[in-house]
Symmetry: C2
Subunit: 332 residues, 2 copies
C-alpha cells in the first residue's frame, strides 16, 4: 500500500486538521469530528446536517457552507460516524427551527443517526431524517438493507440546502429531500478496487481486463463481473439499469452527474458524459443541469457513477440558487 | 490497460464533445480543438489563451471563462497542440487589444506557440507570450530545456485572467504573468506511473514500496527514486526543495496549491496540506489563499504536487476577483 498518510490511524485527524487549515470559513472540530460553517446558526433557518464514513471526499465536508450543509460528521474511513458527533453538530447549528439529517442508506449510518435523533429530541431539538437510497444496482447488500445511498446525496444536499436557506420550515425541507431522492437513480462501475488505509490492501480482486458492474462506494459487489468494454457500451449498460428503474419520457428535464470514484482522469469522465448525453438525447430527454467531476468517491477506486434526477421546476430553481462550499460553488 | 474510453484515437474528440455537452457556456470547436468562452471577444479586453497536451485536466479547458482564460487549445494526450489551433483561438477571441499566450515550458509547446504567434502577427494580432517554468525538480529534462512548467500555470492563468478582465493593456498583463511565474515554485512526487491511452501501459515502473521524487506531469523522471515514507517526511523533502530555491521570510504571504496528480484521494491531499501548513507556520510564513484538489493532473498518476507563490498585495487582490469556470469558480 502506498498512500500519502502518516499512519492509518491518524488519517482522519490529519485530514481534518488540513481542512481546518485550508478553509478558514469553516469551523472544524478536529477532536469532536464535526465540520460546520463558521459563525453559528442563523435565526429561523432549518439546519441541514449530513455525515458518513470518510473516504468519499468531497462528500460531505466539501459541501458545508452557505446554500448547502450546515454541518458534516465524518466517521473513520468507511465507518459510520457515532451518534455523539451528530448530536454535537445538531447542538452547534440548530437555531430552534429544527434539523434535517440527510443519511445515506447504510445500516450503521441509519442506526447511529437514529440514535442521535433521539438524543437530540431529548435536548428539545426537533429532527427530521431523510434516507438517500438511489443506487439501483442491488437491493440488500453487504452493508445495507434496501438500496444503497450514493450520488443522489449531492443532489439532495444542494437542493434542500437552498430551500433551507430561503427560510422553508422543517417539514417542507424534509419533504423536498424525499422528493429529490425519489426522483434520482444511480449506477456505478469500478475498473479497480480501492484500498482502505487500515486494510492495507485492495478490498477485492479485479483482473486486468474486467470491471465490476453495479459496484458500491465501499467496493461492495455489484450485479456482475464483466470484461472491459468501450465507454459507449459501459454507459449503455448503466443507462439501461437507470432507465429500467425509472423510465424517462420525451421532454422531461434532468440533472445528471457523471462522478469519478477517485482515480479516474477527468478526460475519461467527459468521454462518459458524452455517451450519457447521447443516450438521453436519443430519448428526447433534456439534461438541464450537470456535474462532471469527483463528488462522491471511494478513495482510490477507478470507475464512474452516473446519477440522473428527474427534475421539476422547483428543483431546477433551487439547484441554481447560490452555493458557496469548497466542492460546489456558484452564484456566491 | 483499463480506461473509460472508446478507442485511444478518439479520446480527445469524445472528451471535447462531452465538454461541449456539459458546458453550454463554452464554445467548443471539437474539430478545430479550441475551447473558448461563448459570446466572442469583449471590446478592449486583452485575450488570454493557453493550451498544451491533454491528460492534465482540468488544465486548461476547465479554466476557460470569465475572470480566467478566453480560450484553451488542447493537444492530443501528452502532445503539444499545433499552431493552427492557437491561431484559430487567437482569431476567435482577439478584440483588437492583443493576445497573451501562457505557455508551459515544454519544447513542443514553445515551438508551436511561437509559430502561432508569428502567424497571428501576420494577421495583425498582437501577441505576447509568457513561459511558465516553476518546477524546481530538474533543470533540462526529457521534454524540456530549462525548468518544466506545472502548477504555477493555474496561478498565472487566474491572476492574469483577472487583470485582463479589469481592462489592463497587453504589456501590463504580460508583465504580471511574468511576476507570478517568477514568484512561484512547484515540486511533485509520484506514487504510481500514469498510463497514456495510446501507450497502453504505464510510462515507467515503480516498485510497490517506492516513490518518484520530483516527477514531471508526464511521468518524466525526477531527482530520485526513494522508499515510501510518511506524508510528513515526503512533504518535508518537497518543501526543502521549494524553499531552497526560493527562501521565504517570516511575515511573507503565499498562495499554496496542493494538487492531486489524478488518482490521489482528496482525503490524502488534505493530509498533505496539513503538513505543508505546519512547515510554513514554523517559518511564520502565511498561507493567505489556497487550493486543495485536482487542478493539473497526469491522467491516472497517484501523487501530489505542491506549488507555493510568494504573493504580493496585487496578486492577492486579483486572486480574489470573481472567476467563473468549470474548475475554479467564486464571486460570480
Amino acid at each position: 500500500m502506498k498512500k500519502l498518510i502518516n499512519t492509518p490511524e491518524s488519517v482522519l485527524d490529519d485530514a481534518l486538521a488540513g481542512i481546518a487549515a485550508a478553509h478558514p470559513e469553516l469551523a472544524v472540530d478536529v477532536e469532536g469530528r464535526v465540520i460546520a460553517r463558521a459563525g453559528g446558526p442563523r435565526p429561523g433557518k432549518v439546519a441541514v446536517i449530513s455525515g458518513g464514513g470518510s473516504g468519499h471526499e468531497p462528500l460531505h465536508g466539501g459541501f458545508v457552507g452557505p446554500g448547502m450543509l450546515n454541518a458534516a460528521c465524518p466517521g473513520e474511513v468507511f465507518t459510520s460516524p457515532v451518534p455523539d458527533q451528530m448530536l454535537s453538530a445538531a447542538k452547534a447549528v440548530d437555531s430552534g427551527a429544527g434539523v434535517l439529517f440527510i443519511v445515506k442508506n447504510y445500516t450503521g449510518d441509519r442506526l447511529n443517526f437514529q440514535m442521535a435523533a433521539e438524543l437530540a429530541e431529548d435536548e428539545d431539538i426537533t429532527v427530521e431524517t431523510v434516507l438517500v437510497d438511489d443506487d439501483v444496482a442491488v437491493r440488500d447488500s453487504t452493508w445495507t438493507a434496501g438500496r444503497r445511498g450514493t450520488g443522489a446525496t449531492v443532489f439532495v444536499e444542494k437542493i434542500v440546502g437552498a430551500l433551507a436557506e430561503q427560510g422553508a420550515d422543517l417539514t417542507t425541507v424534509a419533504e423536498m429531500a424525499k422528493r429529490v431522492n425519489a426522483a434520482s437513480r444511480s449506477f456505478a462501475v469500478a475498473l479497480t478496487a480501492c484500498t482502505a488505509p487500515a486494510a492495507g490492501k485492495p478490498g477485492f480482486d479485479l483482473p486486468d481486463d474486467e470491471i465490476e458492474v453495479g459496484v458500491g462506494i465501499h467496493g461492495e459487489p455489484g450485479r456482475s463481473r464483466e470484461k472491459i468494454r468501450s465507454a459507449k457500451d459501459i454507459v449503455a449498460s448503466c443507462m439501461d439499469a437507470l432507465l429500467d428503474d425509472q423510465p424517462l419520457a420525451a421532454g422531461e428535464e434532468t440533472i445528471v452527474m457523471v462522478n469519478g470514484l477517485g482515480a479516474t482522469p477527468l478526460i475519461e469522465l467527459y468521454v462518459v458524459f458524452n455517451e450519457v448525453a447521447a443516450v438521453l438525447a436519443a430519448k428526447d430527454v433534456t439534461i438541464a443541469r450537470s456535474l462532471v467531476g469527483n463528488y462522491v468517491t471511494s478513495l482510490d477506486m477507478a470507475g464512474v457513477s452516473i446519477t440522473v434526477c428527474r427534475a421539476d421546476a422547483d428543483m431546477l430553481s433551487l439547484w441554481d440558487a447560490p452555493v458557496n462550499t469548497s466542492a460546489l460553488r456558484w452564484g456566491a
